[in-house]
Amino acid sequence: MQVNNNFEPVIVAFCCNWCSYAGADLSGTNRLNYPTNVKIIRVPCSCRVNPMFILRAFQKGADGVIICGCHPGDCHYTSGNYFTRRRITLLYSMLDFLGIERNRTRLEWVSAAEGAKFAATMQQFTEDVRKLGPNRRLEDLRCRKQ
């Protein structure tokens, strides 16, 4: 078996349109670096993220999934991120219960003004997932890239 020493994780970041996506944009315009491992998927609100999206991301080859939304109280739709918070807490707890490494999942609140926080969060999260290695417990063998 070939051992890949240069493991580069695939990180899927679900970013809400109004805060975190703009935060990512700001980190770009500020010329802040964040790893190219991060693939951003823009969603209208963090509560648009169905638990199935997260599982699907792992199935299709993600090694880590992070959800970013407006800070509680700042949701563009008033209360969307409060629902996200309950739902995602329960889902992450369930994934942990099933023995999926808990550091593969994360939720962070990033506002449109926090470009630096976005870059730092992504760097930190990518490092954490890199330490865990490839996602094996929640992968679909049929989707593995050779």
Partner: protein
Amino acid sequence: MQEAMIKRAKELLADGTVTRVIGWKKGEFFYDITPAVFETAEEIDADFVFDDFTSANVSKYLVKESKKEGKILAFLKPCDTYSFNQLIKEHRVVRENVYIIGVPGGPKLDIEKIKAKGITGVLGVKNENFTLKIDTLYGEETMPFYEAICGKCADCKSKKHVIYDELIGEDGDVLDSNRFDMVEKLENMTAQERFDFWREQLSKCIRCNACRNVCPACTCEKCVFDNPNSGVENKAASDSFEENMFHIIRAFHVAGRCTDCGECSRVCPQNIPLHLLNRKFIKDINALYGEYQAGADTTSRAPLNTYDTDDCEPSIVHERGVE
């Protein structure tokens, strides 16, 4: 008990209060009990049964039955009344079309546990002072009653009927059960041990969908898993991911609505402890968002339909317990 129920059912049919009765009848063997709808007194006399094996929850059948013409009489055990209440809350049943008679609950017996003792050719079972006298093709056998009760009755949460029009027998109380013990035991394992435990269990899944079909909370007319584009609609799970996906999502879709009736585990032909997934959600909801029992009433808001501005952050999952 069975005689009293039959008598009352026939009275209600005769005076026109109801046009149908939902209860249980025997299947191929006396312990193969299946829910059944009766329309005449003769049918009830011939087939109606209520004994130690009538563990099936008939609430879900009322989703369709209560929308037909005429009133239906339903015999509900305490755990079934929670499911029925939850269905009222979700506007899935027409309450006015159902006449509910509360009947005492279990503990009900599980034939598999009797067979596991090596007792085969079972012809009849009698409970005498908590010792089972089992009549078999090969003579009489005995075993302690409590070793044969079905899983959902072993961790019974309540003997109280939360909804009924009349009662036959006594109403009980909400019990102080230790139903979260196994969940807690798993939580205290390491991630690798938990992963191994669930892989062993979930890999047995044959995707028969029995857990989904029996669940009184799973009442969608079109299920996400019936979508051919979902990639998980196959009967045989072809990758371990599909098993995980199906069971996580199945449990998630009933999170906050599951009354913990235990039907999913009871019907599983592979004996997967599916109720543990539901109980994990119930335990988390109780711990993080306050005690909540789905189906205990018809007015409170489900924990996932509401929020609190002071709710904990998901990072709590990363901080507690063993990795």
